[in-house]
C-alpha cells in the first residue's frame, strides 16, 4: 500500500491543522451563518464592546473624546446620588417583578395544563394578551387617574376612605407599587408560553408510572415528576423573566412621566436615557450602560447556576 493512500488520523496532524481542515471542509456553513452573524455582531456585540470602550472617555458627540480612566465610574458611585437611587429602585423592581412574573407564569401554566385544549387556549390568550398589546397598559392611568373619574379614586371616595382624589402617579408613596403591578400585568410573555409547552411535553407515561408508584396528590406529582422533567424550560423561562424585569423603563415613563416624582420610580434605564438623550454625555451614559449590562448578566448567571444546582 502506497503512503499517499493512508487515511489521515486525528493524531497525525496538530490541532491547528485539524481545525483548519474542518473549516475548509465546512466552508458552506460559514457562508450560511455569515449574514446573520454580521448583523448580530454589528448591532448586538459591537455596541456592548463600544460602550465599554467609550465608558472610559468623556465623549459628548461634539468633541474628540479623551481618555479619562475610571472617573466616570467613580462619579457614578460617589458623586451621583440619583444614580444610587436608580440602582436601588432597579434592584427592588427586578427583585419583585422577576421572581413574581416567573412564579405567576409557571403557576398559571400549571393550573391550566389539565384543562381541555380549547379552554386552555382561551385562558392562555387572556393571560398572554396584555404583554403583546402595545400601549394597552395606559388603561391603568385611567383606572388610577388623579381625578375622581378614575376608578380607584371614585371607589375610595364612595367608601368614605378619602375626601379628595389622590394623584396616584404623582405621589412618591404610590408610584413604585403601582408600576410594579402594571409591569407584572404585562409580564406573562415568552416564559409563560414556554412553560405551557413544556408542561404539555412532559411524558404522560411518567404520570401513570407515578400514580402506580404511589404519588398521592398533584403537589407530589409536581415535585417528583413535573419539575424534574422541565429543567430546560425552567432555565429558559428564568432568563426571559429576569431580562424582562430590567426592561420596564418605558412603562414607568408612560405612566409617571420623566423624571418620576422625587425619582421614586427612577431606574438605571431612566438614568441612562437621561444622560444619553437629554445631556449627550455619552461617556458617562456608556458607563451606566456597562453597569446595567453587568447587573443583568450577573443576575442571569446567578439564577442559572441556582437552577442548574436544583436540577441535580
Amino acid at each position: 500500500m502506497s503512503k499517499e493512500l493512508k487515511a489521515v488520523r486525528r493524531t497525525d496532524i496538530t490541532r491547528r491543522q485539524w481545525i483548519w481542515k474542518e473549516m475548509k471542509k465546512n466552508k458552506v456553513a460559514y457562508v450560511m451563518v455569515a449574514p446573520y452573524m454580521i448583523v448580530f455582531t454589528l448591532f448586538t456585540v459591537l455596541p456592548v464592546v463600544l460602550s465599554a470602550v467609550i465608558s472610559f472617555t468623556d465623549f459628548n458627540m461634539l468633541q474628540w473624546p479623551h481618555f479619562v480612566g475610571v472617573s466616570n465610574y467613580i462619579s457614578l458611585f460617589f458623586d451621583d446620588d440619583i444614580f444610587l437611587i436608580a440602582v436601588k429602585n432597579t434592584f427592588i423592581f427586578a427583585a419583585i417583578v422577576g421572581p413574581a412574573s416567573y412564579l405567576l407564569s409557571f403557576l398559571v401554566a400549571w393550573f391550566i395544563n389539565e384543562l381541555p385544549p380549547k379552554v386552555r387556549a382561551l385562558v392562555t390568550l387572556i393571560f398572554y394578551a396584555p404583554s403583546i398589546s402595545g400601549q394597552v397598559y395606559l388603561i391603568w392611568a385611567t383606572l388610577f387617574s388623579s381625578d375622581a373619574y378614575g376608578w380607584a379614586n371614585a371607589m375610595l371616595i364612595e367608601l368614605g376612605v378619602i375626601v379628595k382624589p389622590i394623584a396616584f402617579f404623582q405621589n412618591a408613596k404610590y408610584v413604585m407599587p403601582l408600576c410594579i403591578i402594571v409591569a407584572l400585568w404585562t409580564s406573562l410573555g415568552t416564559a409563560f408560553l414556554s412553560f405551557i409547552a413544556g408542561l404539555q411535553g412532559v411524558d404522560k407515561s411518567l404520570y401513570e408510572a407515578g400514580a402506580v408508584d404511589g404519588v398521592k396528590n398533584r403537589w407530589q406529582e409536581l415535585y417528583y415528576i413535573t419539575l424534574p422533567s422541565m429543567g430546560p424550560q425552567l432555565m429558559f423561562g428564568a432568563i426571559m423573566s429576569i431580562t424582562g424585569s430590567f426592561g420596564f423603563g418605558g412603562i414607568v415613563t408612560a405612566l409617571c412621566g420623566f423624571p418620576s416624582v422625587d425619582y421614586a420610580a427612577h431606574t438605571i434605564v431612566h438614568h441612562l436615557e437621561d444622560y444619553a438623550n437629554q445631556r449627550y454625555e455619552i461617556g458617562y451614559s456608556s458607563a451606566i450602560a456597562v453597569i446595567l449590562f453587568l447587573i443583568m448578566i450577573g443576575a442571569n448567571m446567578l439564577v442559572k447556576n441556582i437552577i442548574a444546582k436544583l436540577g441535580r
Binding site: 460602550s51 387572556i126 396528590n217 441612562l272
Partner: protein, 290 residues
C-alpha cells in the same frame, strides 16, 4: 379521601376536590386581574363622551357607539403627513424586517444546528448569552454606529437591527435540533443535494411552526414600535407613533384615544389567536440545556 378521577390521562390520577376548588378560585382572581383592564379598554372605546366623564365611573357602557372610531379616522385625515404614509412605513418596515430576519436567522440556525464546524458552538453560546441583557443597554452605541453607517433617519435603522433579533434565532435553532432528523438530511446529502438545497427544500418545510413563530415575534416588535430615536423625519415615522400623537390631545380626544388603543391591540391579539398552536409547538423545544 382524595377523589379519584380521569382527566387527559388513561390511568386515574388523584386530584382532591379541595385542591381543584382552590385552584379555580385563584385562577378566577388572577384571570379577573388580567382580563378586566383589557375589557375596560374595550368598554372605554365604545363609550360616548358623556359616559367617559361620568361620576361615579361605570364599568360597562350604557349606550355603545362607534363614534370614537369615526372620530379617530377623521382625526387621521387632518394630519399633515397623510396617514396612509404612516401605515405604509409600518407595513414596509414590518415586512422587510420580518422576512429578512426569517431568511437569515433560519439559514444561520440551520448551520448551527445541523453542521458541525469549528466556532459554531461558540457562536451559539454568544447568541444565547445575549438573551441575558435587554436591548436598552445598546441603544446609545447603536446610535453612534448607525450614524457611522449613514443609517440614521432611513428605513434601514429599523429594518436591519430587526434582522438580528436573537430570540428568533435561538428558538429556530432549538426547534431544528429536536425536529429535523439528521438521517433525512444525510440521505439528501448522499443524493448530491448541497447544503443550501438541503436547508431550503428539506429542513425548512419541516419547521413551519418555528418560522411562523419567528414571523409573529418579529411582527409584534415592529408593529408595537413607537417613536424611534433613529428616525427624525415625520414622513418616516411609524403608525403607532402617529396614532399616539393625534390622540394625545387631552380630554376632548379621550374617546379617539381609547379607540386607537383598541385598534393597536386588536391586531397582535388576532394574529396570536390564529397562530397560537404553532407558537406553543415551537416553545416546546425552547428549553435551555446548559
Amino acid at each position: 379521601m382524595a377523589k379519584m378521577r380521569t382527566r387527559n390521562h388513561r390511568v386515574v390520577l388523584s386530584r382532591s376536590a379541595g385542591g381543584d376548588a382552590g385552584i379555580t378560585v385563584i385562577m378566577v382572581i388572577l384571570g379577573a386581574f388580567m382580563f378586566l383592564p383589557m375589557l375596560y379598554t374595550l368598554m372605554q372605546s365604545l363609550k360616548p363622551l358623556d359616559e367617559l366623564w361620568m361620576y361615579p365611573p361605570r364599568f360597562f357602557v350604557l349606550k355603545p357607539t362607534f363614534r370614537n372610531f369615526k372620530d379617530l379616522f377623521s382625526l387621521m385625515n387632518t394630519s399633515w403627513v397623510p396617514f396612509s404614509r404612516y401605515i405604509f412605513n409600518t407595513v414596509f418596515t414590518t415586512i422587510a424586517g420580518t422576512f429578512g430576519h426569517l431568511l437569515i436567522a433560519s439559514m444561520c440556525a440551520y448551520a448551527l444546528a445541523k453542521i458541525k464546524f469549528p466556532g459554531g458552538r461558540f457562536m451559539f453560546k454568544t447568541i444565547q448569552t445575549s438573551l441575558m441583557f435587554h436591548a436598552t443597554v445598546t441603544t446609545v452605541t447603536s446610535f453612534i454606529l448607525m450614524s457611522a453607517f449613514k443609517m440614521i433617519d432611513t428605513y434601514w435603522a429599523i429594518i436591519i437591527p430587526a434582522w438580528g433579533s436573537t430570540l428568533g434565532l435561538y428558538l429556530m435553532k432549538q426547534f431544528m435540533d429536536t425536529n429535523v432528523a439528521d438521517a433525512i438530511l444525510e440521505s439528501a446529502r448522499l443524493d448530491g443535494a448541497n447544503e443550501f438545497r438541503t436547508f431550503w427544500t428539506i429542513a425548512m418545510p419541516m419547521v413551519k411552526p418555528a418560522w411562523l413563530t419567528l414571523i409573529i415575534y418579529s411582527f409584534q416588535g415592529l408593529w408595537n414600535a413607537g417613536a424611534s430615536i433613529y428616525i427624525y423625519s415625520e414622513q418616516l415615522k411609524s403608525f403607532n407613533y402617529a396614532i399616539g400623537q393625534i390622540t394625545a390631545g387631552g380630554i376632548r380626544r379621550a374617546g379617539a384615544s381609547a379607540a386607537s388603543t383598541v385598534l393597536m391591540m386588536a391586531v397582535p391579539i388576532i394574529v396570536f389567536v390564529i397562530s397560537q398552536s404553532n407558537i406553543i409547538e415551537t416553545m416546546g423545544s425552547s428549553g435551555m440545556k446548559d
